[in-house]
């Protein structure tokens, strides 16, 4: 018993900060339970959300989770910056610091950016291409719950058992049992494995959806660019994640089952892990970046009130980036001594990516050229993105210059590079999409004035945080050090950087406040088309009804909705065109499957094998019983649809 308690609550989770966090989590959970019980919302929660297979609701759940995780990752970041503000800092000890940068990176990439992207895919893609749902609605819900339970598992690590502490890259042999006893790394390995399975399923789901479920007449070259970016991103997901699956699995086998993939004395090769990790890892950064590129392509055309410039080139460059990104991964370990031929090859392949990316940047600028730029908040994020991303990309190219990388590798120059692209490219893009599609999701607008405050705090804060880090890199400051001495010339720059981080934090708080405020006070979106949009989702009411389209649209042009509006073909639906619609039926199966994976994962983390086996049994039983479920659809009668559309004022007569 005492042993068990020691395993669950080792000294690393009994620090004041962790106990405080535990207490507040416990309080928050109790509060939620109380509210749900008090207002009798349990049934509602179960029926409307937990068992839902509606892509729009799943998207919203992804979104909420992603914002919560942005908060957690952001608090981690602020702790890192606080510790580094001054030399010889005492805010965090070395172990604590190592855990925090590990969870910061992991959470931001896997549990913030990925679900945020999937949120926007879910919310926008079916509506944009004129579909009633994704290809496999139940699988979509499964993906979500695998992600959600994996996130829960990962976040449990800092209150029960101890956090992973070997960086988001988790290189062995540091992650081998010998150097890293305890359960922290197990959490990392297993949580990422679970969410990775969900991601592959999402990739397949959106590929099939986009390839096969577009509105009549919407050929590939008439598709909105966000749909194109989702298409190529999904293909990246399904071909990149398997390598991560293997990298994680091998480490897990080493740690839990005594294999020796990365144990030197038995012939293991840690660099093989590094190789596999980046076979996934580099495509992953484009999995994050390309959807953002897609969002910008929509936003820039809408708010410049102009057609996208160079559509074909935009598509071509997406495809080119996708293909190239499979062949550059060694640039993350040029310093491994693989030889000049390998390094030169991968250095050049890396630089080549600058070319299609440049095409995109220029096309966005020329989309604005000759337009009328409306500086809404969604557009502001786009405007901030271009200069920020170009700087980040340019420093990326400097890293691709092999001999240069020998000096920059793992320094703050690298940290600055990737925050420049991850925040300036990805987060700005996600915020842009958030503001852009918010009315479509919830039926009300976000407050623009508050949004602008959040924007300026975040963007200025960003530059104040990360520009000094380039200089720190040139001054030889390396990443993942929990403290540094006086006299290195690093102090002032670090202090500035920390101040910037807090400014970003303020921006984030304003943003969250604004969301809550707007819910109570902002105007409703009654038209369904608040931005005078160009693509099909704006032809629907906000929020869209369960079946999305009462009558599936037919498309003849790019920017289908814009063209319909130009041609005056936006009339109401004739009642006789409305037929009954088959829709997928809600099911608890995805939630239960996620729960079983969670139980299995928890068992594996602590090597409680009976728990793990019970969890896996649950997985199997649920899967097999799913095979026998032949009643997963229901029909919405035409009459009900007519009534609903009439209430929305969209029915003829």
């Amino acid at each position: 018993m005492a042993q068990l308690i020691a395993k669950l609550f080792p000294s690393t989770v009994l620090r004041p900060m962790e106990i405080g966090a535990d207490a507040s989590i416990l309080l928050a959970v109790l509060a939620v339970v109380y509210i749900l019980t008090r207002y009798r919302k349990w049934g509602w929660l179960w029926r409307e959300w937990i068992t839902t297979v509606d892509h729009k609701k799943i998207g919203i759940m992804y979104l909420i989770a992603a914002i919560v995780m942005l908060f957690r990752g952001g608090v981690d970041a602020l702790m890192l910056r606080t510790q580094l503000a001054l030399p010889n800092g005492h805010f965090l000890g070395p172990e604590h610091y190592n855990e925090i940068f590990t969870t910061h990176g992991t959470i931001m990439v896997f549990f913030m950016a990925m679900p945020f992207i999937f949120a926007l895919f879910n919310i926008a893609i079916p509506l944009m291409i004129g579909a009633r749902d994704v290809a496999f609605p139940k699988l979509n819900a499964i993906s979500f719950w695998l992600f959600a339970f994996a996130a829960l598992l990962f976040n449990m690590s800092f209150v029960v058992g101890g956090s992973p502490n070997a960086g988001w890259t988790a290189y062995p042999p540091l992650t081998e049992l010998h150097f890293n006893p305890g359960v922290g790394e197990n959490y990392y390995l297993i949580a990422l494995q679970i969410t990775g399975i969900g991601s592959i399923a999402t990739g397949i789901n959106f590929l099939v959806t986009i390839l096969r479920m577009r509105a009549k007449g919407m050929s590939l070259m008439k598709m909105p660019l966000f749909a194109w970016s989702a298409l190529v991103t999904s293909s990246l997901v399904i071909f990149a994640f398997p390598a991560l699956t293997i990298a994680l699995a091998l480490t897990m086998l080493d740690r839990l089952f005594g294999s020796t993939f990365f144990t030197i004395a038995h012939g293991g090769m840690p660099m093989m892990y590094v190789n596999l990790f980046w076979i996934w890892g580099h495509p992953e950064v484009y999995i994050l970046a390309l959807p953002a590129f897609g969002i910008f392509s929509e936003v820039v055309a809408t708010f410049s009130r102009k057609r996208l410039f160079g559509y074909a080139a935009m598509v071509g460059s997406l495809v080119a980036i996708t293909l190239l990104s499979y062949g550059v991964w060694v640039h993350h370990f040029f310093t491994m001594g693989a030889g000049a031929a390998v390094n030169a090859f991968f250095g050049i392949s890396t630089m080549l990516i600058a070319i299609p990316t440049g095409v995109k940047i220029f096309n966005w600028i020329f989309t604005m050229w000759g337009g009328r730029i409306k500086t809404t908040v969604a557009m502001l994020w786009q405007l901030a993105f271009i200069p920020t991303f170009v700087v980040g990309g340019a420093t990326g190219v400097m890293l691709a210059v092999v001999p240069g990388d020998y000096q920059f590798h793992n320094s703050y120059f690298l940290i600055a590079h990737f925050h420049n692209v991850l925040i300036g490219g990805v987060v700005f893009g996600l915020f842009s999409g958030l503001y852009y599609w918010w009315p479509k999701m919830f039926g009300y607008m976000l407050n623009e004035r508050q949004g602008k405050w959040a924007f300026w705090f975040f963007v200025i804060g960003f530059w104040v945080t990360f520009f000094p880090q380039y200089l720190l890199g040139l001054k030889g400051m390396t990443r993942r050090i929990y403290t540094y001495p006086h006299g290195m010339g690093w102090t002032l720059l670090n202090l500035i950087s920390t101040v910037g981080a807090y400014a970003m934090g303020i921006g984030f708080i304003i943003l969250v406040y604004s969301v809550v405020y707007s819910w109570r006070h902002q105007e409703r979106d009654l038209t369904g088309d608040p931005w005078d949009g160009r693509t099909l989702e704006w032809s629907l009411p906000s929020p869209a009804p369960e079946y999305n389209f009462a009558v599936l649209p037919e498309v003849t042009e790019r920017d289908a909705w814009w063209e319909m509006k130009q041609a005056g073909k936006t009339g109401r639906i004739p009642a006789k065109d409305v037929h009954s619609i088959h829709m997928p039926r809600n099911t608890p199966m995805p939630f239960l499957l996620g729960l079983s994976f969670f139980v299995a994962g928890l068992g594996a983390v602590f090597s409680w094998w009976y728990v793990a086996v019970a969890g896996m049994m649950g997985v199997f039983i649920i899967l097999v019983s799913g095979w026998f479920d032949y009643h997963d659809h229901h029909e919405i009668p035409a009459e009900e649809i007519r009534r609903n559309e009439a209430a929305l004022g969209r029915l003829e007569g």
Partner: protein, 126 residues
């Protein structure tokens, strides 16, 4: 008796993914009265397997040649399986599965070949 069924030619893109409807890969669903394809595929795979085995057991070629030869035999066998058993040409409304499969094979080869190259640590200094 062989019946080859082709769906009617698709005139305009439907938005359902028939862009890559290349002539040779146009879907066709074959039906024979007797499972000739399957029997042929089975016989071929047995023969190819035995051939590879015999090549190795009798060391017919120098090592590198042997490896190349048996990998070639395996590739032939895989293509036969794909074509004869997996009905690679069957699909509806699209041939996207062929496109993704091709991409998967490129990525897979890339991973294997590049990994071997990278992990051989061929530095000029030493």
């Amino acid at each position: 008796m062989t019946q080859v069924q082709r769906p009617p030619a698709i005139s305009a893109p439907t938005g359902r993914g028939d862009e890559v409807e290349i002539a040779i890969l146009a879907p066709r669903f074959e039906e024979h009265a007797f499972p000739w394809r399957q029997i042929f595929g089975y016989a071929a795979s047995l023969i190819l397997t035995m051939a590879a085995l015999l090549l190795v057991v009798h060391h017919v070629l120098p090592p590198v040649g042997l490896i190349v030869a048996i990998l070639a035999l395996a590739t032939i066998q895989a293509s036969l399986q794909l074509g004869l058993f997996m009905h690679l040409r069957e699909s509806l409304g699209s041939t996207w599965h062929v496109v993704t499969l091709a991409l998967a094979i490129v990525v897979a080869l890339g991973i294997v070949i590049f990994s071997i190259w990278i992990m051989s640590f061929k530095s000029g200094v030493s």
